[in-house]
Symmetry: C2
């Protein structure tokens, strides 16, 4: 540590790994012959979104109107809000304005939300959200036709269906989720065609399932986390240690036996902790250490018997479980290569929830 | 909903409930004859900290140097960093500057960290952190004397011991944790006195254990969450529904059978989810509904068979599991009474991790 290094904890982005991750996913989509529309909620940085488009993405995916406004301000021109947006009140007026400056597509999963959306953005392009097993928003594919007909009656232009195979997270779940995704989009396609719609877009794909996407069935993928990856992707088997592009630089502040306390708590790592995860994140250079607990400013890390824990005051790099929520905790990312800081990226769409 | 209400999700503070919570805790401490030093990491708003002092708090507790700098800028003059601060590098120089403008106390739990701290803030007042059962930082009380002697050799002024009875969270744990806290502080007191120290401060207390603090043994309490309370406090039994001072105003965006999806995900509620909790937060006016899953922009809520779920587009108030991390996600809190917005409080110490 030099005297002028930033105080910990902070999030560091390895620019070389990140660029390689961007290029690899772009190549994967190209080889599959599937359009890439990355979910930019992971990085929340418009310049990174522009780089994704430069590498061949057809546009970006976002979740909220506020994120879309910020990315539009940053120069992005083609945005899919992969969310059952409720376009009432002020949000409707913001959507009207947004649709005037970007090519905008939206998700819809009910006749009611289609009616409200049509009032805000007449003739908007929409995709019906279908549920492929994650059981969140979205209708079963057999009901996609009813939603599409309602949307169409209100004057919206139905161009296809989308799903999020979120149940692909977790070790051993990727292939099954990719099959579910393909089956669901194929059924939605059939149902929509039977209801008289031309289906231009069948959109799926998360980072774990992206490379397994069914050619011919899936026309577009929306992975997000691949930009930086994280401990979830590592433990799900969709990336390797060398693909980790972001980590929290932390200091050992307390030490007792095989246990150390780091100053990177859930206010920098996020509190996401799926039941199948080995812990609350992973240590970049200590794969056998386990992050057994997190509080706001403490990470409890237990080292294996054959590995001496790091010294008090030394620095350790922690890979968060879920990179999207970790990035959402900071106003800027420190960026460089091999741990040397060369740049700072403002997280412009941090906290852009509405 | 009026057309100009803010778009959801947003965090709303009920000013009347909050003021009552502040007054109640001040009264509790007064009645116990124990000094109140609230942990201001919950609200992160310096004016609220000043109000706590106005109501009788002896000073504030914070966890990071960055938080302390922001509260010092906001006019707070007496701060305890209840954390084993590692005072190396830049952080040491920042502590030197901070100690010149506020009365500063710090935590210490090792000879090494005491040495580094003494170089940055010679003669600083410190409290030895002892572990009362939460097993995070802190030494067992029998070792408090060794840490204190090391700190003293480096010229620090040891004024007592502190602990965080974090294992008091969870239904049925409060009384046991309060007893552990008292036993631990009593033992630390004995050990420190035997080592030749005068013990001015025995500091404990979390929101769940504050009202159960042992008179005579505990001289100071540091509750934080009581300002707003949250679903954890509710389910731990340390507050009632009428004490909930903060919630996320959310919109129903999807609905199917007994399940609705709200637009308040873990980017506004936080992802804290203790195993004993009934879910990922509670609904303010629907105590029997369960928040069964959270993703970034989706809360999945299941209603009981005898209660019709709210309509699409309607607004619902969600109490986060852990208010400290929820507040840390927003740049401002919308404040008012009975749901009407009258003010906005900037969350000045949001993300002040370093």
């Amino acid at each position: 540590m030099t005297p002028d290094e930033p105080d910990t904890p902070y999030l560091f982005v390895d620019a070389a790994v990140t660029e390689r991750n961007l290029e690899t996913m772009a190549a994967t989509a190209r080889e599959l012959g599937i359009a890439l529309r990355p979910h930019a909620k992971t990085h929340k940085c418009p310049p990174l979104g522009l780089r994704q488009v430069e590498l061949g993405a057809v546009g970006l995916t976002l979740a909220t109107v506020a994120e879309a406004e910020i990315f539009a301000d940053g120069g992005c021109r083609d945005i899919f809000l992969a969310y059952p947006v409720w376009a009432g009140g002020r949000r409707g007026r913001r959507l009207t304005a947004l649709a005037e400056r970007v090519r905008l597509r939206l998700g819809v999963d009910s006749a009611e939300s289609a009616a409200v959306l049509a009032a805000a953005v007449p003739g908007a392009e929409v995709l019906v959200e279908v549920d492929s097993g994650h059981h969140r928003s979205g209708v079963p594919p057999r009901e996609a036709g009813a939603v599409a007909l309602a949307a169409s009656r209100h004057g919206l232009r139905v161009i296809g269906a989308f799903t999020f195979p979120g149940h692909g997270y977790g070790p051993g779940n990727r292939s099954r989720a990719a099959v579910d995704e393909a089956d669901t989009l194929a059924e939605a396609d059939r149902v929509l065609r039977e209801a008289g719609f031309e289906v231009e877009v069948r959109s799926g794909g998360s980072t774990p399932t992206a490379a397994l996407s069914a050619r011919g069935t899936v026309t577009e993928i929306r992975p997000g986390s691949y930009v930086f990856n994280d401990a979830q992707q590592l433990e799900t088997g969709s990336c390797d240690w060398s693909d980790i592009g972001l980590y929290a630089v932390s200091t050992v502040v307390s030490r007792r036996g095989r246990q150390v306390i780091l100053d990177s708590g859930n206010k920098i790592l996020g509190a996401d902790r799926p039941q199948w995860a080995t812990g609350h994140g992973r240590l970049l250079h200590h794969p056998d250490a386990r992050v057994t607990a997190l509080s706001e400013h403490h990470a409890t890390v237990v080292f294996p018997p054959d590995e001496p824990p790091p010294e008090l005051g030394s620095r350790v790099s922690v890979v968060p479980n879920h990179v999207c929520t970790a990035v959402n905790l900071v106003d800027e990312l420190l960026v460089g290569t091999a741990g040397t800081i060369q740049d700072r990226w403002p997280v412009r769409a941090r906290g852009a929830n509405a």
